[in-house]
């Protein structure tokens, strides 16, 4: 189990990666015992399976032209499911845009997610997801928000943590630096999770930074940081659990580099064959997080995976239903363009809206 000593053992400069199970789902350390119950592990597996199914279907909806650009999660789901299990109801989730499993765990509905990627802001209402921020499109800009929320949690003496996501490319932005520095100076309970999926669209990590890994960047802020196998559900779960526990107990911020691979395209409008090799992709397939967790579950007979197809069939129905609901969402009214800019609509906006309504009324007539 990951503990204080592990921090030294895995200190970032050593470039050692924290890992529990190998590519075949076998614990590297035979004496290792999971901190999760069998039931919880099975749940994690099923959540991962669900998230992956939903992700697959999102891509196909997009292909059918029923949704706009969508960023696939394939290959990175262990990170999302692990953080989803660790994050508490009162904790904050500050997403980037590629953490589907974490959003679902926080209470976001697939209907909302689909609605958002169909191009409607209503998809960011997150009616049942407490303290879940909207997708952040400007890379790394969300991290400073996390630091500010962290300050607020300290200020109000709440025992709540902030989980903030960013990608490997995002570590190059100035806001990454400023956010981690502020969080450290403020001793804010923020867990920064770098999903190092090796690419920023087409740009490989080696063109993004010359540091030996991304976890070392925490040293610049005096922040504990660790490199973790992001495709290893157990490793991620242990480190996230440790990070949260110390954060809410006054330990301050924590940086996690989750090493993973974006198996799919950057978005549905991207073609990875332009910038990476089949070999690279195949090598990473062996580390697929679902495959590894599934193997662990089979070795330990926690769950009869042969029943899986029925399970997936059920998921698909559920997901389709959510998508249907998104497609049934009411038409986008003009009022929604103007209605949410301010608490109370200023006269200037009313004037502009009325002028447009007036045009709609008279355009036919005009001729």
């Amino acid at each position: 189990m990951f503990n204080k000593d592990s921090l030294d053992k895995y200190q970032a400069l050593s470039n050692k990666m924290y890992q529990i199970i190998d590519d075949d789902g076998k614990p590297l350390d035979s004496k290792w015992k999971p901190i999760l119950s069998d039931a919880e592990i099975v749940k994690a597996y099923q959540d991962l399976l669900f998230a992956r199914t939903a992700d697959y279907m999102a891509v196909s909806y997009q292909r059918q032209g029923r949704m706009f650009t969508y960023p696939p999660n394939l290959g990175q789901e262990a990170i999302h499911i692990a953080s989803g299990m660790v994050i508490e109801h009162d904790d904050w989730l500050v997403p980037a845009f590629r953490e589907l499993g974490s959003w679902l765990a926080k209470g976001v509905s697939l209907r909302e997610i689909f609605l958002y990627f169909k191009g409607n802001e209503d998809g960011s209402r997150f009616a049942n997801a407490k303290r879940m921020l909207p997708v952040s499109v400007p890379i790394a800009s969300q991290l400073v928000h996390a630091s500010g929320i962290g300050y607020a949690m300290n200020y109000t003496k709440e025992k709540a943590a902030v989980f903030a996501y960013v990608g490997d490319g995002g570590t190059s932005e100035g806001d990454f630096h400023e956010a981690l520095n502020f969080a450290a100076v403020w001793n804010a309970p923020v867990i920064f999770i770098i999903q190092n999926n090796q690419f920023a669209i087409s740009v490989p990590l080696k063109m993004q930074t010359k540091s030996i890994n991304l976890a070392v960047k925490g040293l610049a802020y005096g922040m504990p940081s660790v490199l973790v196998d992001g495709n290893d559900f157990f490793a991620m779960h242990e480190v996230l659990s440790y990070a949260r526990a110390q954060a809410v107990n006054g330990g301050g911020p924590f940086l996690i580099e989750a090493k993973t691979f974006r198996t799919g395209a950057h978005t549905t409008s991207d073609d990875p064959t332009k910038y990476r090799t089949k070999e690279e992709e195949d090598a990473w397939k062996l580390k697929d997080p679902l495959k590894r967790l599934k193997a662990y579950i089979e070795h330990n007979k926690l769950f009869d995976t042969s029943t899986e197809d029925a399970l997936i069939a059920g998921y698909k129905k559920k997901i389709d239903a959510e998508f249907e609901a998104a497609e049934q969402h009411p038409q986008y009214p003009l009022a929604d363009v103007f209605g949410y800019m301010y608490a109370e609509m200023p006269n200037e906006l009313k004037r502009q809206m009325y002028a447009y309504e007036n045009y709609l009324k008279n355009k036919g007539a005009a001729k």
Partner: protein
């Protein structure tokens, strides 16, 4: 009542809101121990504690971005950009997030933050310390942008800005921070944002200005009066939204208007006002709505500033030209 200059009035407003509302915090570069490079926050840390009034690391993007984080978590941050020119590193956070979070989340998350920015020229400063960036903010949907020109307005408008549920850019004409003294009520009061103010009535021409240019315009109008001209002066006070009613009423009456702003001319604040006047009072115009503004140049260092900064004589010159048009 108590005689205050702008610095004292702003300090008083912050003190009142810090005392009244525990969710209010004040931070930025040197605002704590030092009390701000202009002493605007002097004494506030001592009185309200270092958890509520504090120095941040030197990074404007994070100052603005963390304010958003605090705000959506229920606090009311009042942050300071030390000088106008140093608000630029915070642009992405202000434009992409503070101004948009309410709309993006359909009202789930709101950003009751105030960004204080001492602005404008005329203080013999180094480069980047004399900028007038209000048009950048005025062109950014989701913000309110206000500028007081008197201690009385400064106190009431800042309290209103802190009360406001949405992000407010509160720009402070640093050139007149200590130049204007005025009787200001000691109790709490607020002045609704978005309303211009007719400072002095007249019927031959309307001058629209704000911030440090008000004082210059008043001097120019005094000169005009000696020539027997009757000039109306409007203090815009709110850059966005703009109070069309007050402008319409005045220009329909005078038919002539001069707009005086420090900011560079092209795509500047005066252009928006001229457009509004065309929309609201075209048929009343007896002369082209005219703008007297900064040049489309970098504002010069102190020895060259005299050319750039608009003085009463220059305003008077334009008033004459317009009335004789």
């Amino acid at each position: 009542m108590k005689v205050m200059n702008l610095v004292a009035a702003i300090n008083d407003a912050l003190d009142i809101m810090l005392s009244e509302d525990k969710s209010v915090v004040v931070y930025g570069e040197d605002v704590g121990v030092e009390g701000g490079v202009f002493r605007v926050t002097e004494g506030l840390q001592l009185k309200h504690g270092a958890q509520r009034v504090f120095d941040s690391p030197l990074a404007e993007s994070a100052i603005a971005g963390t304010a958003l984080g605090m705000a959506i978590a229920g606090m009311k941050p009042v942050i300071e950009m030390q000088f106008d020119g140093f608000s630029y590193p915070a642009f992405n956070q202000i434009l992409s997030h503070l101004s948009r979070f309410r709309n993006r989340t359909r009202g789930k998350f709101t950003v009751p933050a105030v960004i204080r920015i001492p602005y404008g020229g005329g203080i013999n400063a180094l480069e980047h310390h004399s900028e007038s960036p209000e048009a950048y903010f005025g062109h950014t949907p989701g913000l309110k942008v206000v500028i007081p020109s008197t201690p009385y307005d400064a106190k009431g408008m800042l309290i209103a800005a802190i009360e406001d549920p949405d992000p407010v850019i509160f720009m402070e004409p640093k050139r007149i921070y200590r130049a204007i003294k005025q009787e200001v009520p000691e109790e709490r009061y607020s002045i609704p944002l978005g309303k211009a103010k007719v400072i002095s009535p007249g019927d031959q021409l309307t001058v629209i200005a704000y911030g440090a240019m008000i004082r210059e315009a008043q001097k120019a109008i005094a000169l005009a009066k000696q020539q027997g001209y009757s000039v109306e002066l409007i203090d815009l006070r709110s850059i966005w939204p703009i109070d069309r009613d007050t402008i319409r009423e005045s220009v329909r009456k005078t038919g002539r208007v001069l707009i005086v702003t420090e900011a560079p001319q092209s795509f500047g604040p005066a252009a928006e006002l001229i457009s509004i006047i065309n929309e609201e009072a075209f048929l009343s115009l007896e002369a082209p709505p005219t703008r007297l503004t900064g040049f489309d140049t970098v504002i010069p260092l102190p020895l060259g500033e005299k050319y750039y900064i608009i003085d009463p004589e220059r305003i008077f010159f334009e008033i004459q030209k317009l009335i004789r048009y």
